[in-house]
Symmetry: C2
Subunit: 263 residues, 2 copies
DNA sequence: ATGTCTTTGTGAACGCGTGCACAAAGATAG
DNA sequence: CTATCTTTGTGCACGCGTTCACAAAGACAT
């Protein structure tokens, strides 16, 4: 998901596969629920079902962390919660700064799941001077001018970008310059960062478009199954015919191409 | 990312790899930017740089759609925008329903990038009777009781779940029963759905935990590089020592395990 | 028309992730 | 102590995705 991911192919000391790391939070969530119900142990089969994964995959994932299970019994819930929490670095507190306090930024600041597992909203930053000092989720918004100092003073190493796309790269650069080495990007932009900085992106628009692709394919298959004439995918949407620009003597800038994108 | 993904191994008619589909929106965004600047053609190298991917990968991705490039020149921007839009199903309008109008749901309803590319917020649904009728982003919130009718009347096939985790599965079931076949889940829960329904999830908490993992690893490597004694990962965070529950005669429910999770 | 130069499209090799299937380990009963 | 039963941990094979490297294709100059 991360765009500017640094893969660190050789330096990887404790070789935990990326795919496994991405599933650990899932296991942790399921285990926490079991813990709250005071369930002492759980088998790989049960836990896998709760996390929505294959049990063999779960066992292999845990094998990367060490042998924490007991054959014939299963895994000790509390112990596993502790081990995964430690592996994910959740035994320490992570101060997080949110930059861009619009609709989404404010929603994230108010999001409960934030404060819970080891993460603490340490600062809210916005470029709008009118926002400065306004409390959001009980925290006063600070101005972008002080970004460097805010990051340094609070020891922030994880930044969340919820700015408009145009400002994202600039904010990213400033965060990195101030010492942030992990960025969660909600802005629909490709961020470029130096080596050693991790970027993960959350993109509503992309997710919807992926769903739309499958949705369209499902509709097409359904139509085909019902005997409706589906000549080719080119005729799929019944849209204006695509006028291919001739390779040589390409059409001028008159732009009579079909205007596909609504905005 | 989807948990209940139906992989449809054989039925896949036009074999476009899932990884490629996930990148098409990225290409489309870069191409749209070029289009707005009236750039007529672009090479795979340039476009790949703009999208943050390898150029060979981009060419292979496009090869699944067909041969839309011209050797020695590159790709026609407008034509490619059209082809990708059609492939993703963005040449038609997708009415979307958002269920759970809290902080996040309201933020998404107000999100501009929603309405742009072919997606239209057709309905906002919430279980709180006090919310019913209240306009959010210019749309009146409707009550959960009418969910079935709302979905049917508006021909909604894509649902967005932004409810608290406890309500997510129930809402999901009702959406599916009403005819929704694609779900974007923001609730931190594993959704189980029947075959033929696609689920994609967006999980802030998981993303942060993945970042924390890498952040911790970076800090550990840095410390090791500076000559600080790092005995073992077990001593990494300097936390309370993990007391392994003895397999047999496991400790009683007195719960003197380290309380790792803050909440 | 011919040659050069650019860029695409793809064959092939490689590596990662997944899932099966089973041996080893330990619990539990007799 | 022995036998049986449950469940883990993992060797192995397979398939997908990525990347390299290059031949083919076309633009463009002469």
């Amino acid at each position: 998901m991360a765009t500017g991911r640094t893969h660190r192919p050789a330096t990887r000391s404790r070789g935990i596969p990326e795919a496994t790391v991405a599933r650990l939070p899932l296991y942790l969530r399921a285990l926490t629920a079991l813990s709250e119900r005071s369930v002492p142990t759980v088998s790989s089969e049960e836990l896998a079902a709760a996390a929505g994964v294959n049990s063999a995959k779960l066992r292999k994932d845990f094998s990367y962390l060490g042998s924490y299970g007991t054959r014939g019994v299963g895994y000790d819930v509390e112990y596993l919660v502790y081990q995964i929490s430690r592996e994910l670095g959740l035994t320490q507190d992570w101060p997080v700064a949110i930059v861009g306090i619009g609709n989404l930024g404010a929603a994230l600041a108010n999001y409960g799941g934030f404060a819970s597992r080891g993460f603490r909203v340490a600062a809210l930053i916005d470029a709008d001077p009118a926002m400065t000092g306004t409390p959001v989720a009980g925290i006063a918004v600070q101005h972008t001018d002080d970004l460097d100092r805010i990051i340094s003073d609070n020891g922030v190493s994880i930044g969340v970008i919820t700015t408009p796309p145009g400002a994202a790269q600039q904010v990213c650069d400033r965060l990195v310059a101030a010492g942030v080495t992990s960025i969660l990007n909600f802005a629909p932009t490709v961020l470029s960062v130096p080596d050693g900085v991790d970027v993960r992106k959350v993109d509503l628009s992309i997710e919807l478009q992926i769903l739309a692709f499958h949705e369209q394919r499902k509709a097409g298959e359904e139509a085909a199954a019902e005997g409706v004439a589906v000549v080719d995918a080119d005729a799929g949407a019944g849209q204006a015919p695509p006028v291919r620009a001739t390779p040589t003597g390409r059409k001028g800038p008159d732009g009579d191409m079909p205007a596909v994108m609504p905005a």
